[in-house]
Amino acid sequence: MGNRVVITGLGVCAPNGTTIDEFSDAIKKGLSGIRHQPDLEALNFSCQIAGKPSLSEERINQYFTPLELRNLNSTGIIYGIIAGLDAWKDAGLTIENNNEPDWDSGTIFGAGTSGIDKFRWAINKIDALEIKKLGSSVVIQTMASGVSAFISGKLGLGNQVSTNSSACATGAESILLAYERIKTGQATRMLAGSTSDSGPYIWGGFDAMKVCTFKHNHEPEKGSRPMSASASGFVPGSGAGALVLESLESALKRKAKIYGEVLGGHINSGGQRGLGTMTAPNPTAVQRCIQTALKNAGIEAQEIDVINGHLTATTKDALEIENWKTALQLPANEFPYINSIKGMIGHCIAASGSIECVASVLELSEGFIFPNINCEDLNPEITALINAKCIPQTLIHQPFNILAKASFGFGDINACIIFKKYTHES
């Protein structure tokens, strides 16, 4: 059986909120964090809008020493540290300055690319024959594991400290990897999350692939339209999300606040076989991932109350709904509520899964279902599959028990997590 695993801390650095209170308020109200980005316009991007966390210098100074801030040019590390440390504090955990590491706590904090602005700066220096001027900060800011290394140093983590990278599935995967580590008794507590840098060098490749919308540069807040008939591609985003996962035993012993329980989940790949390619999901694998997650969590499809989809606002949204429907084998009138926060914050790439899990856990613990925005004109291919009432467009206050969260990534990879409300009687 192994340990039961619960969530005791949350932290977030999202385009529409950089504290849990601010973020929770924003998702309830359907507030958008998507803005016009002058730098993308100046660089002739097709998509000139994006979601970026808004942080003051004063706020950043609370998390880093003056020395760390010198030459710090990795937004992903800044977002990850803020979300990570906030989650740790939210869990009621302190930062000890002992000589001995905390052997029972670790982190799996994912990233796509780390410190891409720093990397560009370093490349320019090297090409200008100024290798000597790189200093000591290039490696730690541009290694993929930079974010988890920074977190580990700040918290003194002595258990596993690693960075996973699995495209848009990164955040959901980091939580499942951390969950397994606690479940199998190898760690008591893990900080799980993921981060994604901001800026043209991260988003440029997606713009070139023409997967981002170019139709809403004049109305940024309308640009990201999951499940809408007029969805025309995703809006890039950035930020970080973090969750403290802990064995139930440890959480109860500490009398920690418990946001919810991770019942289980599954990670798989479509192998880029069948209909799967580098960029398109193999539907069989997606369905299998969802079904195996249910089995792993020990629940039946009809027990799911809410789905937090991957739903990026491309033409693939209808395919995703079809996959959920096939996987769950539920008639249209029994299909759960489904929502996507990407209408408000865009697609935060490697950070999407963790930010979305933070939103999902807030919904479960506070008993609400946040509204989908920008889908007044629901995609008819979707309403042919499920009832429109499954896709709330206004906030619903309603306690519920089980939420399924999935993320799908480039490389034909999938992750699905089952979260359950925690009640002390259970």
């Binding site: 003056p66 020395l67 010198r70 000597k132 001027k133 200093g135 000591s136 900060s137």
Partner: protein, 87 residues
């Protein structure tokens, strides 16, 4: 620039890299960057960059390898400044 002036300038440069307030306050020729000031060895390269900028000199790899304490660093800076002045 005399030795005292160089040490004084050096103190300002290394200050952000060390949390050893009392060792910093009593910095002198015998101060060792790693043992006394507890400076992270990776930051030694950043200190060299700051020195190059501050004194407008270039420090070669061989000199750099010797710059582990105040005495050696001061001597190297003084020699570079002298060579510079002679140009």
């Amino acid at each position: 620039m005399n030795k005292e002036e160089i040490i004084e300038a050096l103190k300002t440069i290394v200050e952000p890299y060390s949390e050893e307030a009392s060792a910093l306050a009593h910095i002198d020729e015998n101060t060792d960057f790693i043992n006394d000031l507890k400076i992270n060895s990776a930051n030694l390269v950043d200190i060299i960059l700051d020195i190059e900028e501050k004194f407008n000199i270039e420090i070669d790899n061989d000199s750099m390898a010797k710059m582990l304490n105040v005495k050696a660093t001061t001597e190297i800076i003084a020699a570079k400044l002298e060579a510079h002045a002679g140009q």
